[in-house]
């Protein structure tokens, strides 16, 4: 059923009793043309673009838990393409362009809100670095604007710009950046993929791979063996576990990131703001809650339960940036398992094993990549080679010294 003002009116007349489930709940078939492991944003988007762009509709998405229970439903929903390195900018900009028409394309309101993403600078050197990044973005056709403290004070009055320790010297604004409704992104891609014939199979954990003469031929799951000549991994924080089942070691560590939301208040923050001094980011949700987060807890973890020092650090950053927030109560706080790479950039590529494809290493920033990642991964799987847009996000870049280290912090995952 297409969603529209007319379908809404029709359903209203019958008391909203005839809405259909947004996707089917099929039994797994014995075989498919392609299997995607992981029903997060990236797995669902990949299945959607495989069907839509490449006509491959005999596809299953296997999810060990429930759809949207992973990081796609746990993130702080920031969407932007303000990267500096060419290999990253072109990929994230493609993703941002897909976001701009995503609700229409999926026929599902993902509530994409281009409210602008503002990065604050706290020294002359940081302003220079932002000017350089902004220039690099503009050379790639991406919007970027350098703001003075006076302009920032006018646009974002809730901030304390004259903080004694970290005064604000300026900021880099990407007005096309913003936020989206994370659950709706998972649901929208699931519904649209299902509509094109993709089987979405929940409560189905992949426990091993079937191989013949080195080539992948299928997966073992908690719901039996399922065969396919092409298998794509999109399991975010669990990437190393699946790779290990296939005998691969990866340049990835799993780390823990926490996030927070306050009680709802009237509009007080119109943009997404990041506070570079404390690696802190904040926005206000459409419901009114302040949604914010900061750095990783800092050590390897597969637990979605964080420790208090990271909470304290995050709340301190909030208090430095927006002292008025001290009057608010926290509503919820939670964690997710991040697939941190050695250079802080993701991987979308083939693997050394024929028939096995890898999508992972999203660090903190995979939500914004969701449509672009699905689009590029679908191309890589369907054509058996990366697209130009993900050609720099290769698995062997580490071996060849072609790392994409935006932060220049070296092969230390917890510093990215």
């Amino acid at each position: 059923m297409r969603y529209s003002i007319f379908s809404l009116a029709r359903q209203a007349l019958s008391g909203h009793r005839n809405w259909q489930p947004a996707w089917r709940d099929p039994e797994p078939k014995p075989g498919y043309d392609a299997i995607i492991v992981g029903g997060g944003g990236h797995g669902l988007a990949t299945a959607y673009y495989l069907a839509k762009e490449h006509g491959i509709t005999n596809v299953a998405v296997l999810e060990k838990g429930y759809l949207g229970g992973g990081n796609v439903g746990r993130n702080t929903t920031i969407v932007r393409s303000n990267y500096m390195l060419p290999g990253n900018v072109r990929f994230y900009e493609k993703s941002l362009q897909l976001w701009e028409n995503l609700s229409q394309d999926l026929n599902f309101n993902v509530m994409f809100s281009q409210r602008g993403v503002l990065n604050l600078a706290h020294s002359d050197a940081q302003v220079d670095a932002f000017a350089r990044r902004g220039n690099s973005m503009r050379l790639h056709g991406v919007d970027a604007e350098l703001l003075t403290p006076e302009q920032i004070a006018r646009e974002v009055p809730a901030l304390d710009l004259a903080n004694a320790r970290f005064p604000v010297y300026g900021g880099l604004m990407q007005r096309r950046g913003g936020t989206a409704r994370h659950d709706a992104v998972a649901w929208g891609f699931a519904r649209a993929a299902d509509g094109l014939g993709v089987d979405i199979i929940q409560n189905c954990e992949v426990t091993g791979f079937r191989r013949e003469g080195g080539r992948i031929t299928g997966v073992e799951t908690t719901r039996g063996t399922i065969n396919a000549p092409k298998i794509g991994l999109a399991v975010a924080g669990h990437t190393s576990r699946l790779a290990e089942m296939a005998g691969l070691r990866l340049p990835i560590e799993s780390h823990l990131l926490q996030a927070f939301v306050s009680e709802g208040v009237k509009p007080m923050l119109d943009h997404v703001v990041t506070f570079a001094a404390g690696h802190f980011y904040i926005s206000q949700s459409d419901k009114g809650g302040l949604v914010f987060g900061s750095s990783l807890d800092g050590y390897n973890s597969y637990s979605a339960r964080g420790n208090l020092p990271a909470v304290e650090h995050c709340v301190e950053a909030l208090m430095s940036l927006m002292p008025s927030a001290g009057r608010l109560r926290l509503l919820r706080h939670w964690g997710g398992v991040m697939d941190m790479t050695m250079d802080g950039s993701p991987i979308i590529d083939k693997t050394p094993i024929e028939g096995l494809y890898l999508n992972g290493g999203w660090c903190y920033g995979g939500f914004k990549a969701t449509p672009g990642s699905g689009w590029c991964f679908a191309h890589t799987i369907a054509q058996d080679r990366p697209h130009y847009l993900n050609s720099a996000l290769s698995l062997d870049r580490f071996r060849h010294g072609e790392v994409l280290d935006e932060e220049r912090s070296g092969p230390v995952p917890n510093l990215h």
């Binding site: 190393s240 560590e253 390897n300 050695m342």
Partner: protein, 92 residues
């Protein structure tokens, strides 16, 4: 989370700095290849469960220690000085 320092006893997490997997070993200069360096610098087992990891008690005695910890439950099993572990492994 608290971590046990062999010299200072059980101390709060904030006093420590994390380096990572203690099982990776620097390539032997006599036999090294580029692949050995690639594996040492970039590749990790990233286990879900028990793991040996290097921490420095940077806000305390500054010793480098190896902690055995469960990455899923955050349970800590014990620690020793990195130097002691190194000597023991060389001898073995």
């Amino acid at each position: 989370m608290k971590l046990p320092c062999p010299l200072c006893g059980s101390r709060a997490l904030e006093e420590f700095t994390y380096l990572g997997d203690a099982s990776v070993t620097r390539p032997d200069p006599e036999t090294e290849t580029l692949d050995d360096w690639y594996a040492f610098v970039y590749l990790r087992d990233n286990p879900c469960g028990r793991m040996h990891e290097l921490w420095q008690h940077s806000g305390g005695c500054r010793a480098w220690i190896v902690v055995e910890r469960d990455t899923l439950t955050h349970e800590v099993f014990g620690s020793e000085l990195a130097r002691d572990r190194n000597t023991r492994e060389r001898a073995a």
